[in-house]
């Protein structure tokens, strides 16, 4: 008989005993029936049951290595009936075990890649990481010896590591591994740990740290940056000289070899507690540090002194914990999220636009930020840019489609502007002529510390200033936002000018695409209810109209047009007519199919073509990245 039957007289004790046996897997079918009845009757009992079983579940999680996931199939085969030996046992001798320390999901995929489909498995494994390590880390229970293990529950997951990441048992962990309490170290590279509390810590080697629980760790030496979601408020990091308690924040922390520590609060609040001289309990009264503040503590017994704040001190590491921040509706905002991305090398406006369009935050698609009010402008400068040591930040503003007609990447009208007026009034297009070249891309800039942040226009190659930062805005999906292209309203070739009454639209695409894909996009688009197609330039007059109205004032050097053919000789326009091949540049090499494009040559920049000519290119050669295309919409009345 089970010992728990001793208290069978007390109904509460009976209930708890049944709950207990439920957890241990020793419950009999009759008892299970009774437990179900008791739970059904009384919500308070269900509350007690949930508290008890939640604890059991939490303990299972803490000590979960993932190995039962790998052995799931064999477990099931070996255990078809009622659990008799207690569910806590896996029934396999410890000495034979190999520990899969990845999560069950990844282990499952690893064990059954064929079932899942190789593509998905590969993608997810690469994503979450999977590892198998020899289970040498833990002492096993010998038959003679008393148990020698110390309690080392798992409290974090190693999300990524670029250098060897060691536990104190000299086990190197791979990405995806669960990390037990105890000391870890990394000699070089960076390692990202996600604690079960949600706290995200990125260590830069050489560094030594001890994980104590899902809410605490000690940094003995090295550098880390931390991002703490609301679930991790109260997370404590101790260094040799002080204790730092997170109050919902992003911060950087250094522990130098002599024990001196330094904290820089990127956002939110960190409480600093002095350690007693003997290393004992920390002081009760914390010093509260808020964003933009930094502190250096070289010895125990006090909270050190204020030092100059520098996010740059943590370099790119600090970027990895900079989560987009909200402009809440409650504070007069629009509910969108914003993120300042600082790259380690210069980015062009087009790269920034494409990268922004391909990022998501909480499922919201991103785009280069559009700044449409003074309040939004103030929020961005005050909350995002602040004192970052950078000079320029791309935003989603450009007049590349038509000189001096700036437009937002989102299609929102440009009503509010904040162009710089010191040292000179912007936008100045850098004194270029009113068409090709010049400066077409909008950015926040601050040329000298004494100037305020304001807008400037800059050229694509940014010869005189390397721009390596851009501002992303995340907002609910609007049709235009998901597209990686932008355009202006079509221009009509009026009959009064000898035209055909058709409309012509210039589109800028941020990403490479084949001619067929581009043509499909053109055919899927509509204007005034009429579907378009890539332009057919049938006459010199039509070519001249396109040059004058669209090309001369745009900054895109290459536009796809509706010309294609399997060879140079049988090129045709999308409307079925034949081109005048004498006017078309021949391809240099033979290929299986060609398409046509309008290309600009700066050396022939004079009337009447202003450098524009029709060229051909092999069908399998796509534009390298950004390019334009021209869509023609026939007259709406046939």
């Amino acid at each position: 008989m089970n010992e728990s039957d001793q208290n069978v007289g007390d109904p509460d004790e009976t209930f708890l005993a049944l709950t207990n046996r439920m957890c241990d897997g020793t419950i009999t079918p009759d008892e299970l029936e009774r437990l179900g009845g008791l739970l059904r009757e009384d919500p308070e009992r269900r509350e007690t049951y949930l508290a008890y079983v939640s604890l059991h579940a939490h303990l299972m999680w803490q000590y979960r290595t993932g190995e039962s996931a790998a052995n799931l199939a064999s477990d099931r085969a070996a255990d078809p009936g009622v659990a008799t030996g207690g569910d806590l046992s896996c029934g396999v001798e410890p000495s034979q075990r190999v520990s899969g320390t990845a999560g069950g999901f990844t282990t499952w995929l690893a064990s059954r890649p064929v079932t899942v489909g190789a593509v998905l498995a590969t993608a997810v494994l690469a994503l979450l990481g999977v590892t198998l390590i020899p289970w040498s880390g833990r002492a096993t229970i010998g038959t003679e010896d008393r148990p020698t293990t110390t309690a080392t529950p798992f409290v974090a997951t190693l999300r990524e590591t670029s250098g060897a990441f060691w536990t104190d048992q000299q086990v190197a962990l791979n990405a995806g591994a669960r990390v037990p309490t105890g000391e870890v170290r990394i000699e070089r590279g960076e390692a990202e740990l996600v604690f079960d509390s949600g706290a995200q810590l990125i260590l830069r080697g050489p560094a030594r740290m001890t994980l104590e629980s899902s809410l605490s760790a000690s940094l003995h030496s090295g550098q880390l940056v931390a991002h703490m979601p609301s679930t991790a408020v109260g997370f404590r990091v101790q260094t040799p000289t002080a204790v730092f308690v997170d109050q919902g924040t992003e911060f950087g922390l250094l522990a130098e070899p002599d024990g001196t520590s330094e904290v820089h609060v990127f956002r939110g609040q960190v409480d600093v507690l002095a350690l007693a001289e003997d290393g004992g309990a920390a002081a009760a009264n914390p010093l509260e540090l808020v964003d933009g503040q930094a502190r250096r503590i070289s010895q125990r017994g006090n909270v050190g002194s204020q030092v100059a704040y520098s996010k740059a001190r943590f370099g790119l590491l600090s970027q990895r914990v900079a989560e987009p921040i909200a402009w809440p509706v409650a504070e007069g905002g629009n509910g969108h999220y914003y993120q300042l991305v600082i790259s380690d090398k210069p980015v062009t406006w087009h790269e920034a636009a494409l990268k922004s369009a391909n990022t998501y935050f909480r499922g919201l698609p991103g785009h280069l930020a559009s700044v449409t009010s003074a309040a939004e402008d103030e929020f961005i400068v005050g909350q995002l840019i602040r004192q970052e040591p950078i000079r320029g930040i791309w935003i989603g503003l450009t007049d590349v489609l038509k000189e001096s007609q700036f437009q937002w990447i989102t299609g929102e009208p440009v009503e509010y502007t904040h162009w710089a007026n010191v040292p000179t009034q912007q936008p100045d297009n850098f004194r270029e002529a009113d068409w090709h070249g010049g400066e077409d891309y909008g950015m926040y800039s601050k040329l000298l510390p004494k100037y305020p942040w304001a807008w400037n226009d800059l050229s694509i190659d940014s010869m005189h200033e390397k721009v390596s930062a851009y501002l992303v805005e995340y907002e609910p999906a609007v049709n235009t936002l998901r597209q990686t292209s932008m355009s202006l309203p079509p221009v009509r070739w009026d009959e009064s000018e000898g035209g055909n009454g058709h409309h012509y639209r210039l589109v800028l695409s941020f990403e490479s695409a084949s001619w067929q894909e581009v043509r499909q996009r053109a055919q899927d688009s509509q204007f005034n209810g009429v579907a378009g197609d890539l332009v057919s330039l049938q006459s010199d007059a039509e070519m001249q109209f396109v040059i004058e109205k669209l090309l001369r004032v745009c900054g895109i050097p290459e536009q796809m047009i509706g010309l294609s053919g399997s060879s140079f000789e049988d090129l045709t326009w999308t409307d079925g007519s034949d081109p005048d091949t004498a006017q078309i540049g021949k391809p240099l090499l033979p290929a299986n199919g060609f398409y046509g494009l309008l290309r600009w040559d700066a050396t022939r920049n004079h009337p009447p073509s202003y450098g524009w000519s029709i060229q051909t290119r092999a069908m399998d050669v796509q534009p390298s990245d950004w390019f334009g295309y021209i869509v023609e919409y026939p007259d709406d009345i046939p």
Binding site: A57, M60, L88, G104, L127, T150, A151, L215
Partner: protein, 176 residues
């Protein structure tokens, strides 16, 4: 799915895997069954990631999927006599949604650290997947039932401790 979207999934998955596991294992407190359901849940989450609604919150979304998988599991399980009935599991699931999480990380850590070293050691030995209660009992020269009793006492004292923590917090909040 874009690389960035995959990366966001990975981050949210890693941050919340313990909570999802906890939910499943609370309703199905059997290790290998909970593992099975977790894996199925993870797969469905991965497949339905493009339908994820951030307003709903990741854990709440994952719970919805997990509960579905738990129901499917209970219907197809051949070992019906080791699990509570679907009706009771549904009642429990409903109650989880309306009650506060009994396992607050902070309270757990504090109470866990107050356990005697011997007690923590026993928890590890029994809960580690590579061992089993029988092995532990043999090593300690005692019976399995004795080990189950000790486990019961440790779990009860942890729950009592966390209850105190919770009411202390309430008192502290009232004072503010």
């Amino acid at each position: 799915m874009s690389k960035e979207s995959q990366s966001e999934f990975a981050m949210l998955y890693i941050q919340n895997q313990g909570r999802v596991y906890g939910y499943i294992a609370t309703l199905i407190p059997n290790r290998s069954d909970a593992e099975d359901i977790l894996q199925r849940t993870s797969m469905v989450m991965w497949q339905k990631w493009d339908q994820y609604d951030p307003d709903r919150g990741f854990v709440s979304w994952a719970r919805g999927i997990a509960l579905n998988e738990i129901r499917n599991f209970l219907r197809r399980s051949e070992r019906k006599n080791v699990h509570l009935s679907e009706a009771v599991v549904d009642m429990l699931a409903e109650q989880i949604e309306t009650s506060t999480d009994p396992i607050r990380a902070e309270a757990f850590e504090q109470c866990f650290s107050k356990l005697e070293r011997k007690q923590r050691s026993l928890l590890e030995q029994c809960y580690l997947e590579s061992m089993g209660v029988k092995v532990v009992a043999d090593a300690l020269g005692t019976t399995r039932d004795a080990i189950y009793m000790r486990l019961h006492r440790i779990r009860k004292s942890l729950i009592n401790c966390m209850n105190h923590q919770l009411s202390d917090d309430n008192v502290a909040q009232q004072r503010v």
